[in-house]
């Protein structure tokens, strides 16, 4: 069991899991991906990022990958992280939970836009 709680899933942890859905990434890659997927609103600091990564590793939601498939020749040796099946399951359920919340919010006309 991770020492830091993942229930409820912290925002940073969810963003990291989400960032790893499409590809294996190293720390800086994760940070950039999170920045992109939040339109620049969230830039995970190094401490926060690696603290969350450690928690997710302990919870076996992500795992380290030694040599990623897309590692460029000559680049520094880095730790890459990959989503585990448990992590994928968790990120999906968390996304669905948020989607449910969105539906409720829209039904209450708090948010505008298409039905989710």
């Amino acid at each position: 069991m991770p020492k830091q709680k993942l229930n409820p899933l912290p925002s940073a942890a969810f963003q990291i899991l989400l960032a790893l859905v499409d590809e294996d990434l190293h720390g800086y890659g994760i940070m950039r991906q999170v920045e992109d997927q939040t339109d620049g609103r969230t830039r995970l600091g190094p401490g926060t990022l690696y603290s969350s990564i450690r928690t997710l590793l302990e919870a076996k939601l992500i795992e380290e990958v030694d040599v990623p498939t897309d590692a460029r020749p000559g680049s520094e040796r880095r730790r890459y992280y990959r989503l585990t099946s448990a992590g994928r399951k968790l990120v999906r359920s968390e996304a669905e939970r948020i989607a449910d919340l969105l539906r409720v919010a829209r039904s209450k006309r708090i948010l505008r836009g298409a039905h989710v």
């Binding site: 720390g27 995970l44 600091g45 401490g47 926060t48 990022l49 690696y50 603290s51 450690r54 730790r79």
Partner: protein, 509 residues
């Protein structure tokens, strides 16, 4: 350079975290520093990093905390103190060195402060006027004779007789007594009736290191008001005085007062200004005031008894001088229940004198019953003696005539000094007012206070008169101003002057 700065800041993280992710974190910093150039982006980078440190460092320590708590709890099961090793590796040599230097610095600073404290003699602010009355029966009864047990012995004295002074004030009174010996008073102060005056032998002054804040000031004011209304013998004046204090508080008159002694003196002055009663006072003691009377301790009582008997009840001399002048040097008015026999014996030794000199230059007070007994020898009929501490009762009359006494019609000279206090002033004042003596020496200390002590808190108390004594001699007594001698000479010359006066008087006969 930036990387070095960040690497240094990373030391804030727990070492286990650094070991695990230090290199990754630094790599991430390098990546960002490489990609984020220009003033704005670089500034944003550093803001991000600082904010991240502020959030993640405490979280990392918290992260390790459960382990520590668990480890300690396990160790404590045996009931023994535990020592938990947090770090796995041994400390770096530079860490040991800086730790050693820091420890030396702290120890040196502490030792310097301690040595300074050793030289500092706190001028305990037992607010002059305040302690005067309250120690009426305290260690001053011992005549201020140096004794390692003075203070404790003094405690016992309050147990005797009808003390109007709460024993709760005695400890501070003792402090002032010892202080008195160390700080001779400035005689010029004796002409300032509304300021703190030296008490006994001491100008107690104000304590410098005694700060009071707004909360305590307010607490003291309201406690003083409550005590006045509850205890002061004149309710209308109590109301008027209380209103004045509260008005001063409302006006912010106390806001600038930061020291306890100064604050007590100001309150005392304002209470006296309003009430015209010199017996009201607020006192401040840097030493914590005991919550309960100390005088009631039987052990102290017994020690007082032993001390006072060992010192001939502070009758230092009782002899006949040339020209048959009796000379009685009395350094306190000791408790009557202990010293009546001694007092009578000493008076008998000078019974045949043609004139008598009572030397009170080192007498700082004591028991009013002893005052009455000795005064009884100087009259051939009961005489009323005013005592600001007592309601007018039968106790206020001398026991004259005393069988076999021959001193009732002999000239009496009392020697005074600025140390002469309290009960000794009671004796001097009344005999002067009754025109039964000639006072020779200096103006006395002005320790007339009759207030009953009420403790407000650890450092403040208030003395409030609770009796309505009748003073047939004058509107005011010796409170604050002291007793003026008939013949003003330096205390050191008083005996010679009195002898000359006595000789002249005797020659006329």
């Amino acid at each position: 350079m930036f990387e070095n700065i960040y690497a240094w800041l990373m030391r804030l993280y727990p070492s286990r975290f650094r070991e695990e992710y230090g290199e990754e974190i630094l790599q991430l910093f390098r990546d960002r520093a490489r990609d984020e150039k220009g003033f704005y982006r670089r500034l944003r980078l550093w803001l991000d990093l600082v904010a991240d440190l502020a959030i993640s460092v405490p979280r990392e320590y918290y992260y390790f905390e459960p382990e520590l708590i668990g480890a300690s709890a396990d160790q404590r099961l045996g009931g023994l103190p535990s020592f938990v090793v947090i770090e796995g590796g041994s400390p770096r040599p530079e860490a040991l060195l800086s730790g050693g230097v820091l420890t030396m610095l702290v120890l040196s600073t502490c030792s310097i402060f301690l040595s300074q404290a050793g030289h500092y003699t706190p001028r305990r602010t037992f607010n002059a006027a305040s302690s005067q009355g309250h120690r009426y029966r305290d260690s001053s009864a011992l005549g201020g004779q140096p004794s390692p047990s003075d203070s404790e012995v003094g405690n016992g004295t309050s147990q005797f007789g009808r003390s109007v002074v709460s024993g709760r004030a005695l400890r501070a009174g003792e402090a002032s007594n010892s202080e008195a010996e160390a700080f001779p008073p400035d005689s010029s102060e004796s002409s300032q009736p509304q300021t703190q005056r030296p008490e006994g032998a001491g100008n107690l002054g104000m304590t410098s290191a005694s700060k009071v804040d707004a909360t305590e000031r307010s607490h003291v004011i309201h406690a003083a008001v409550a005590n006045l209304k509850q205890y002061y013998v004149y309710p209308e004046i109590a109301q008027k005085t209380s209103d004045a204090l509260l008005a001063h508080e409302k006006n912010g008159d106390y806001d600038a007062v930061k020291e306890g002694g100064e604050f007590a003196a100001l309150l005392t002055k304002q209470m006296r200004d309003t009430s015209q009663d010199m017996h009201l006072d607020v006192l401040y003691s840097q030493e914590p005031l005991p919550e309960h009377p100390l005088g009631a301790i039987p052990e102290n009582l017994e020690r007082y008894r032993e001390y006072i008997e060992h010192n001939n009840c502070t009758f230092e001399k009782a002899e006949i001088l040339p020209h048959n002048i009796g000379y009685l040097k009395l350094n306190s008015f000791p408790d009557l229940s202990v010293c009546e026999a001694t007092a009578r014996a000493e008076m008998n030794r000078v019974n045949d004198a043609a004139a008598i000199i009572v030397d009170l230059r080192e007498n700082r007070g004591g028991d009013p019953d002893m005052v009455m007994l000795l005064a009884s020898y100087l009259f051939d009929h009961p005489e009323y003696m005013y005592n600001p501490r007592e309601n007018t009762t039968q106790q206020c009359w001398t026991r004259s005539p005393i069988p076999g006494n021959k001193l009732a019609d002999k000239p009496v000279y009392i020697l005074t000094s600025r140390l002469t206090s309290s009960a000794a002033e009671h004796f001097s004042y009344d005999l002067k007012m009754l025109k039964r003596t000639t006072l020779v020496g200096e103006t006395t200390s002005g320790a007339a206070h009759s207030g009953v002590f009420h403790r407000i808190d650890e450092h403040f108390g208030i003395g409030i008169p609770e009796t309505k004594p009748i003073n047939p001699f004058s509107k005011s007594d010796w409170a604050v101003v002291g007793v003026e001698p008939d013949m003003k000479v330096n205390a050191a010359d008083a005996l010679d002057a009195a002898i000359k006066l006595a000789q002249a008087k005797l020659q006329k006969k």
